[in-house]
Symmetry: C2
Subunit: 80 residues, 2 copies
């Protein structure tokens, strides 16, 4: 059976506070890397799966239902 | 002053266990998405910064020293 690979990138919506990013930006500044003005954190998931005709639809479903929190996050799927 | 944007992607090295990915793969399977054979998790950071000649070198430094754990993770920098 043929295999597919997808990456789902998840990031906070604009305007949603990102304490982890803020903390990292402060740490950078304290270490002398003062040119960094903002840091936003995100996460991604690399999925290996069996190819099927409705795969992209199903990755979309799983991204919405399981991988992300649609209230505060957006996601983007990349087939690789 | 001119601005730059970079994204640092961090993922576990091959062979390093990923309990979060494993847990998500199990959850997908339990939800009927049985075509997903493996899930690997990663994270990324979007950096906004003032442009400077040695910026790429400095992003590389900060990726190694602060953003990633070079023992178990690899990183990739994308200038956007």
């Amino acid at each position: 059976m043929s295999k597919s690979k997808a990456i789902v990138y998840i990031r906070l919506k604009e305007g949603v506070l990102d304490p982890q990013g803020k903390t990292i930006a402060h740490a950078m500044s304290n270490m002398g890397y003062t040119e960094f003005e903002s840091v936003r954190s995100g996460r991604f998931f690399e999925l290996e799966c069996e190819t099927r005709p409705d795969l992209e639809k199903r990755i979309d479903e799983i991204s919405r239902k399981l991988l992300s929190n649609p209230i505060i996050e957006t996601y983007r799927v990349e087939m690789v």
